[in-house]
Amino acid sequence: MTCFPDAPDVARRLLLKGALAGGLAGLGFAASGSFAFADVNAKDWPADAFKQKGEAETLKDLYGKAAEVSDKITLDAPEIAENGAVVPVSVASTLPNVTAISILVLENPNTLAAAYKIPEGTEPSVSNRLKMAKTSKVVAVVEAGGKLYSASKEVKVTVGGCGG
């Protein structure tokens, strides 16, 4: 079974140093469209979507539709992640009317890593840090104007989720 290494406890130190802005890329996942995700104020965690395996199944569960590739999404992730426990990923988009962003790691045990709701007035830009079990394609999905768009990038993981 795949495992994830423990992330080093760098977060607090980074904040204390006020150094968060530098060096941290973000992960972006776009999720939107399905009943669970339609209401921006819904508090429910989309449990089923987080159990899915595969991009198509995950998007179908989360949004009820498929995504088309777009060049208006910026997916920022390292080419090579030395530590699969902490992979910085950022997603931003120049698409209008973005309502959700989600991030998928296709080779993880469960494809969906994180999903974000972007209400009106919030910029379509998210940075976060994800665990990756092994080298994988990372997919950013952006819901904009009721449609789904995606961008992807291959991230090589040198020290995988199992710490060798």
Binding site: F4, D9, A11, A21, P119, G121, K131
Partner: protein, 103 residues
């Protein structure tokens, strides 16, 4: 007890950049302990950020989000001195919240 949440929200022009760190193990459910037994999944599910009574950002996290999760986003309308409320709940029903001032 100290809050599990650290937030830095800085207003610049008409937009506010929010960075937050939450202390949480984010156990994936796939890792074994020293006795070879699986550590059950224990992760934050939902984080909400509220400003002026309105939710400005919601994060839905699975077990693949790194330990002590970090997230950054920007929203419009925040002013220096405004309150920003951050709340999270995990898959075991634990939760925490705090109110930070926008700088």
């Amino acid at each position: 007890m100290a809050s599990t949440i650290r937030v830095r929200a800085v207003a610049s022009g008409d937009s506010t950049e929010v960075q937050s760190l939450i202390q949480h193990p984010m156990d994936s459910g796939f890792v074994k302990d020293s006795k070879g037994e699986l550590i059950p999944a224990h992760h934050i599910e939902v984080v909400t950020f509220e400003h002026g009574g309105k939710v400005v950002f919601t994060a839905y996290w699975g077990p693949a989000v790194s330990k002590d999760p970090y997230v950054k986003f920007k929203f419009k309308g925040g002013k220096k001195g405004d309150d920003l409320k951050v709340s999270w709940v995990d898959n075991k029903g634990a939760s925490d919240s705090m109110v930070a001032k926008i700088q």
